[in-house]
């Protein structure tokens, strides 16, 4: 081999290396074409607004709901569930809560996450406080520590027979006469 042939040989060796990398999928920095510029090495930061929060419950309802009424506030997921057996319990001997049953009516896959929030109102329609119910079925969170039992669903899946839920109301400033339910989180498999 003469000296004049070296560049061609070197080019051939480089091409072989490139082909090897393509064929085997092996990491090989030496296979980089000279013309290639570095693509983005890490995720580019993107200016994002602060994460949106769910709308706050109304401070007052006018006219005030009927005593014992549990109203469902229409939202992003209310068309995808069936809520039945809604009941407000506000006896002096127990903590107030809303109980009911939820089944996913439109999506046919398992329910991974569900949050039901209740806003509690007094007889005059004034907001007393809120509570929430969480349901998790899959993922890292489902295997980690659980929330208190009264806030975390156990038993059959929401997409099948549905789940019974209780939305506890701790720390209210009075006795609730009505409640408004919202569903800020619904995630299906």
């Amino acid at each position: 081999m003469t000296l004049t042939h070296l560049p061609r040989a070197a080019a051939a060796a480089t091409a072989v290396a490139a082909l090897l990398a393509l064929a085997t999928g092996c990491s090989d920095a030496g296979a980089r074409p000279a013309a290639a510029k570095d693509p983005v090495p890490a995720a580019s930061p993107v200016a994002l607004p602060a994460p949106r929060s769910a709308p706050s419950p109304q401070a007052a309802l006018s006219p005030a709901p009927a005593a014992g009424e549990v109203r469902v506030q229409q939202g992003p997921f209310t068309d995808r569930v069936q809520l039945t057996g809604l009941r407000l319990t506000a006896s002096p001997s127990s903590s107030p809560s809303v109980t009911g049953h939820v089944a996913i009516s439109s999506d046919i896959s398992d329910t991974l996450a569900l949050e039901i929030t209740a806003a509690y109102y007094d007889a005059d329609g004034r907001l007393l406080g809120t509570g929430s119910f969480h349901h998790q079925e899959e993922g890292e969170e489902a295997h980690a520590g659980h929330a208190p039992a009264q806030q975390h669903a156990e038993g059959p899946r929401a997409a099948g027979a549905g789940i019974d839920f209780t939305v506890p109301a701790d720390g209210l400033t009075g006795t609730p006469a009505s409640a408004v339910l919202t569903i800020p989180v619904l995630v299906n498999e």
Binding site: L19, L22, G25, K37, P51, H134, V185
Partner: protein, 515 residues
Amino acid sequence: MRRRPLKTLTVLAIAASTAAGTAATANSAPQQSDSRQDIRNVIYLLGDGMGRTHVTAARDRFMGPGGKLTMETLPHTGAVATYAVEKNSAKPALVTDSASSATAWASGVKTYNAAIGVDAYEKKVATLMEQAHAAGFATGNVSTAEVTDATPAAQFSHALLRGCQGPTYSDAACLPKKEDGSYEQAPADKTLVTPIAEQIARNGTADVILGGGLARFEPDDQKALQAQGYQVLGSFGDPKLPAQTAASQKAATKADLDKANGKKVIGLFNRGNLTVEHNKAALPADAPQKQEPTLADMTRKSIQLLNERKQGGSYDRGKSKKGFFLQVEGAQIDKRSHANDASQALDEIKAFDDAVKAAYEFAKKDGHTLVIVTADHECAGFNIIEKGTYTNAEAVAPPSNTDGGNPANNSVPSRSSSGAKDPARSSGIVNGTGSGDAKNFGPATFRTPDDPAGVKDGSPEASLWLTYLSGNHTGADVPIYAYGPNGGAFAASQNNTELYGKMYRSLFGRSPQQH
């Protein structure tokens, strides 16, 4: 790579093949010498939850056992291991979810189940779609699920939990829990707890976004998308309302998609997941679900839009034209397999295969497109059993293994006394409530093209008998098929994280820097 004289390339290809040794595996039947071709486009299609047996069952069902689905005609075949890892460790978790698996091929890292675009230690990782976009490739993300769902999300968003999809932030949906049940502290990088819909609407990572999930988005998302030049199909709602509902939003339609011509397009065709094809077919002609495109429709249109798009990025490999990177997900295979719904799962596999056909046909004409078809994990232990037999789960008592004491294991197994073979479809008594209804439990039976006319689905005479092992994902390897330049690199047994590096090399012609 510049084009070289054929003779030189042939020599180099032989040398490379010889040196590589194992690159072309025995199960690969290359039909072209593909390494010599420029790779301009990569189309990555995955059937969510589609294991090896799902493919076989769909082949039997629609083509007959002697036929082939389109994906099976691709020349390069292999297998993909799918396991995840436990959080804050490298310890394997043998059964992955869609989030962890999608992060693996999108970013090349093993991570915990439920993670989106972050590693096992909650560190954000770059995705192939982000890198392709930044380098000037056109990019597309298509799914029959909500576009905020795990598989599409892992290419164009980053979240600590897959449930953080929006439209609003919630601690429970976005923050992992600690052992004591309290939530982790919010990370310094607020992106990781920003609802995925909010991220997608603002980061511009995918030029074409097609799928479901309209309910995750709000009017300010539409405004942000339009400000970036997106053609928004349908309407994300009324900005005067505090929360959007089915009444305030307008899902996009196939007619909208057909007319779309923007350089950037987003079309959300359902407020949730797209309608399962089996159900859609049964609906009246005026049902709104009938307006949804199929996965094949979305694949064809996205390829058209991406192929026509003229890129102005800074990355240049000396090619005459910038290419594209497109991910396409057939999501409902998994969703129906979770429900042990063989009938609809099979139809969804066929719908997915139709999308594969659309990509394959483009690639064959184009000559510079790599098509990869695989899955994120198997779902539910789907299997094909012999006609007229039963599964262990149906047995009155656990079937005994008469070979248990035989070290040579060469006698004839027999379960004649312990089974519960049903004369109709062998639905046994231990399946629980509802097992009396033969439609509820396996074996589900289906006719195949080879069955005599008159044999009905669901009858014991149908030849395809199918069962499920569970209602969740399994740890089985999944199949992979490839066509086009560098397709042979996928003809191997490989880990799902390796797909990232192989696709990266296919697009960029070199290895990823972080590997």
